[in-house]
């Protein structure tokens, strides 16, 4: 049963607004009294997911459902999709441009960070269509 649902649109290449969705999610979880360790895991996961959408995709959205036993995060974009998910999951592997990497992004740690913060982690990608991330973080 979903108790609270939060949905955020994320624009592609918008580095000024990037991080706003995850900051807002964190603020709301704090207000709700979610334990700080859980909040931290959600904050890291949503930030990485948000940055992935900004850096790599055509834009998308992040949805957070706060349920009784867990917080679920869904991040879905409008493509271009990931060619090789196994490679993308490797720490340090990145397809980010030099410009983006100069800003300190594109360390190749995004997906591995999300995975290490989550209790359940699912990623699905269809080339030319979308990438969808489903994550569960238990209380």
């Amino acid at each position: 049963m979903t108790v609270i649902k939060l949905v955020y649109e994320v624009e592609k290449q918008d580095f000024v607004k990037a991080g706003q969705a995850s900051s807002d999610i964190k603020k709301k979880l704090k207000q709700l009294g979610v334990p700080s360790e859980t909040t931290r895991k959600v904050a890291i996961s949503t930030y990485e997911a948000e940055m992935n959408i900004v850096i790599h995709s055509q834009g998308g959205y992040i949805e957070v459902n706060i349920e009784e036993q867990a917080i679920s995060i869904k991040a879905k974009d409008r493509g271009p999709g990931i060619k090789n998910i196994e490679l993308a999951m490797q720490e340090g592997y990145t397809t980010a441009t030099d410009k983006v990497r100069e800003l300190g992004f594109g360390a190749g740690m995004g997906l591995p960070n999300i995975k290490s913060c989550s209790d359940e982690f699912k990623i699905k990608s269809v080339l030319g269509k979308y990438t969808e991330l489903d994550v569960q973080i238990y209380f």
Partner: protein, 114 residues
């Protein structure tokens, strides 16, 4: 825990985000890093974060990683939007002419002496 006010005084840090009340703020440790994802995954709550990155996204990383403050070493130039954001989010930014290494050494001496 170490008072941020004392940190500024002892290290003679330049206060970049002026519209933040730092009176009751504390720091616990120090984290140095410029790769944002790496920092997010490894910084500890309360750490003072030393980074040479100065664009607006560092504020989100600091806020999400529960950093106590951001210290910019070597007098690097800071974007105006970064300063504005830091004041909105209550994450103070300081600046120093010292390198990250020199800052960390000095902070370590201060915190250990306490």
């Amino acid at each position: 825990m170490y008072k941020i006010e004392k940190l500024i005084e002892n290290l003679q840090l330049e206060i970049v985000s002026k519209n933040i009340d730092i009176t009751d703020m504390n720091m616990s440790g120090v984290y140095i890093g410029d790769l944002l994802s790496w920092v997010m995954g490894n910084i500890k709550p309360g750490d003072a974060w030393i980074t040479i990155q100065t664009h607006v996204n560092i504020v989100a990383v600091a806020a999400l990683g529960d950093a106590s403050c951001i210290i910019i070493p070597e007098n690097a130039e800071i974007d105006e939007s970064t300063i504005q954001k830091s004041e909105e989010q209550d994450i103070p930014i300081f600046r120093s002419n010292l390198t990250a290494y020199e800052l960390a050494c000095k902070i370590s001496r201060l915190v250990d002496k306490k």
